[in-house]
Homo-oligomer: 337 residues x 2
């Protein structure tokens, strides 16, 4: 059985990260992780006529970057697993059209990077595929257009809001006996604690992160200290505090080994209030800073927990609260055997 | 290796269909498969205030029906894999909230039933899960609202159009040594032959169906006669003819063993032009008529090929053609060992 506990898949063949890539916009490039990203865009339209086409191109470039980094060609990749925030995940589908690789489209809002890694690792581990590319993308301007207000309005942002990342991250998984490995994935349930404030996504998503991390620790019979780093994305400042409180209430102490990508992405003077959001946030941080630290052995054992808010503008208009989800992926450092 | 050829996963443990369920609207119930569906709705609002809430409830009821049919409780199900046509696949996410089962959200437009079965079967076959529920839903009224025109306008439909099915289908997969089995899945590529007419989805999707069926036959080194039934969903009348022509051009003769769910769903006097569409069409036909025939041994070997058009209203407005995809799942009859 490759399953332990209630919701955790075990990858006994430990699929390896054999390539990765990250691209972000200039604001993200000027943030705390600027030195780690593979590419920082000068022009967030990427020369396209619309932000949606730019987002699609961003994803395609990032997947190609990861495939190059793995010293492979798109023809070598058995499957690309990706998703994004656009209606009908068109950035992913149109990127998959250009890539011409068998395609599994997934949707988990901002949890998509962990979802795609979980599905991708399960395919590689069970030898359904030799190589799988896992990726996601978000773009500030296309997300604002679709989920919030026209950019031209200059609408004032409330203090609990987060800033959608312009960025993409891609990971190529394959077989091998060295390199960063994926050993477990915990598939989350949809959790909804009745938050209705669409400007407080961190607060809405924190219970989902709590649920999945708690489930993961239970399934593996471990404490949080098992990990050098438990990294959520993207609860932001407020959501992270809520998560720490929720864990504390269960007697689980998230200490200095806990961080959140959304909280860390931007500098304090970048006026993003609670920090970053968007599925490109934790995807780009994972595929730069985190993988580099796993490779240089300053991290050995990371739980990557991507969180998503599964609402749509229409569900909010129809009075629904915000259902959220988190998926967790366990990454082991360079020396894992 | 659990992969053969370029794009086909092999399920050597042959996950079994241990439960299934189908629910459709009254128009679908009055069509050609009326006697096979588990439930025909009198009221396509299901008592809800909006069509989107109705669609969500329809999916939830259908998944619960399949779990009941498997003589299990939702607590027994390790994972639900589902998707739908709504922006941010909210029908699926909100149904997963009620079901309280770990959730993998997928999107493949009308190819979603095959995508969810492919992912679900891969999880069961590799023992990541004991039981997985795979499902999808569509609703005529929510789809018209989102993709086309307000229902109240009574907009005239062009002769190449198809009618979005109000319906849902759900399949519970598990381990076992008897019952209908899933033995292979071929993951499709995105195929776009530059069709831009959003009222001719069948024509747009036919090349994707061709690509995946051709790949599947190549990967398994078989001819189309290997199958008692090759069943696409949902090309409709025109799309089916295009597919037959495309196959013929490659020297592959799709004969009386070929059918299309969209073409068969409605009776000629039901004024649906090219037939049915929507991911609930082939999902409901598979989970009623097809599985019943596999169980009563009048079918032994079925290739289920669900096709999806991966456009959004916005990509059309921005001048894009229609990217399409098809995934294929190979089902073996009751006697398979």
């Amino acid at each position: 059985m490759n399953k332990i506990g209630n919701a955790t898949m075990v990858f006994e063949n430990a699929p390896r990260v054999i390539g990765n890539y990250s691209i972000v916009g200039d604001k993200e490039g000027a943030g705390n992780f600027g030195q780690y990203f593979d590419e920082i865009l000068d022009d967030d339209t990427l020369g396209e006529r619309t932000y949606e086409k730019a987002e699609c191109k961003l994803l395609e470039q990032c997947v190609r970057g990861a495939i190059d980094n793995a010293k492979l060609s798109p023809l070598d990749i058995d499957c690309v697993v990706c998703g994004d925030l656009m209606n009908q995940i068109t950035s992913s589908s149109f990127a998959a059209r250009s890539l011409n690789i068998p395609y599994i489209g997934v949707f988990g809002a901002c949890s998509t990077m962990a979802e795609s890694l979980a599905v991708g690792a399960s395919l590689v581990n069970a030898h359904y595929a030799n190589y799988v590319a896992c990726a996601t993308v978000s773009h500030f301007s296309s997300a604002e257009k679709q989920f919030r207000y026209p950019l031209e309005l200059g609408t004032q942002r409330p203090p609990t809001s987060q800033w959608t990342t312009t960025g993409s991250g891609a990971t190529v998984l394959g077989h091998g006996d060295k390199g960063v490995a994926i050993t477990h994935a915990t598939i989350g349930k949809v959790v909804d604690w009745n938050v209705t404030d669409v400007n407080n996504m961190g607060g809405a998503m924190a219970p989902a992160a709590f649920d999945t991390i708690y489930q993961h620790l239970q399934d593996l019979s471990i404490g949080p200290d098992y990990y050098d780093l438990i990294l959520t994305g993207d609860l932001g400042k407020l959501g992270s505090e809520v998560l720490i409180d929720l864990m504390e209430n269960k007697g689980i102490h998230l200490s200095s080994n806990y961080s959140d990508c959304g909280q860390m992405m931007f500098k304090n003077n970048q006026k993003t209030f609670m920090g970053a959001s968007g599925c490109g946030c934790c995807a780009s941080v994972l595929n730069s800073y985190v993988l580099q630290r796993l490779r240089n052995k300053s991290l050995k054992n990371v739980l990557f927990v991507a969180t998503g808010a599964l609402l749509s503008p229409l569900t909010c208009q129809q009075g629904e609260s915000i259902p959220c989800i988190a998926h967790a992926v366990s990454l082991k450092g360079e020396d894992y055997v």
